[in-house]
Amino acid sequence: MADESRINISNAGEIVTARQQGRMLAVQLGFDGSELTVIATAISEIARNILEHAKDGEVVISQCYHRRKCGICVVARDFGPGITDIDQAMQYGYSTHKGLGIGLPGTKLLMDEFHIVSVVGEGTTVTMKKWRH
């Protein structure tokens, strides 16, 4: 993999850094206008999730290929409390915090691929991809 940025997420300012890095890489990969905003917003949502629930984690942004498709891959990893009920967490409008409950389900809507793995007491990893059309 040629380009990869790794951003530690431990304060709100780093969320902004993460989405700026994501936007920069997406521009390099040839994404345009609204797709750039989609990718930046998805990174923003997922990074905020780390900050709110685990306090500390990282976002790794890289390019990815599948057959002849090219895309951007975002991995958000934390070693926080984990999610007890993923189905519930993925429900639109459900939030354990005082949030809108849109973060996780909304991000899934924005991206082409979205996988979440969580182990209670160990942490959560979200892997998401957006393909260039």
Binding site: A12, G13, V16, R19, R23, G33, S34, L36, T37, V38, A40, T41, S44, E45, R48, Y92, G99, L100, I102, G103, G106, L109, L110
Partner: protein, 172 residues
């Protein structure tokens, strides 16, 4: 980074310059709430042209600022949501209730002025119904009352002895 707030007549204009952190937003909320009281502003314009991302957190915060200002007596208009940002907000299902939206500052000011005028006409109409008909008939409509004027009227009311059309409005 602190958000600069300008005063324009009865309105306040807050121009968001960069992505807002939680602390910036808390500061903006406190600042606006304080100034709405100090300047007796009836409208607040928040310019978000500089924001390249409005996620669920930013939406929730803008919403809470607007709702709080509404309780302080001011109406909020958000200006300059970019087309891409609007597209993503719709995809995410994010909405802003109790908040107006306008393309640019000019339209936002027109929007607030119209709102002010409508409120005023509504008030005049009610005065007419309440028995002040002679005044509402052919007389030119009085200029919009500022809050300070209205307060003064209210204070003078017990002294003047008889009910003027304006005091009828206050009695309602």
């Amino acid at each position: 980074m602190q958000v600069p707030i300008l005063k324009q007549g009865n309105y306040l204009i807050a121009s968001v310059q960069s992505a807002l952190s939680d602390d910036d937003l808390r500061l903006l909320r406190a600042d606006l709430s304080d100034r709405v009281g100090r300047f007796r502003s009836t409208g607040v314009i928040i310019d978000v042209t500089a924001l390249d991302v409005i996620d669920s957190f930013a939406t929730r915060t803008l919403q809470s600022v607007a709702q709080m200002l509404k309780l302080r007596g001011a109406y909020t208009v958000i200006v300059g949501i970019r087309p891409d940002v609007a597209f993503v907000m719709v995809q995410l299902g994010l909405t802003l209730a109790d908040v107006g939206a306008a393309l640019d500052l000019e339209e936002a000011l027109a929007n607030l002025n119209l709102r002010r005028r409508n409120l005023h006409e509504h008030r005049v109409m009610h005065i007419g119904e309440a028995g002040g008909g002679s005044r509402a008939a052919g007389a030119p409509s009085p200029p919009p009352l500022s809050r300070a004027h209205r307060r003064r009227d209210k204070d003078e009311q017990p002294r003047s002895g008889h009910a003027s059309p304006r005091s009828v409005e206050h009695g309602r």
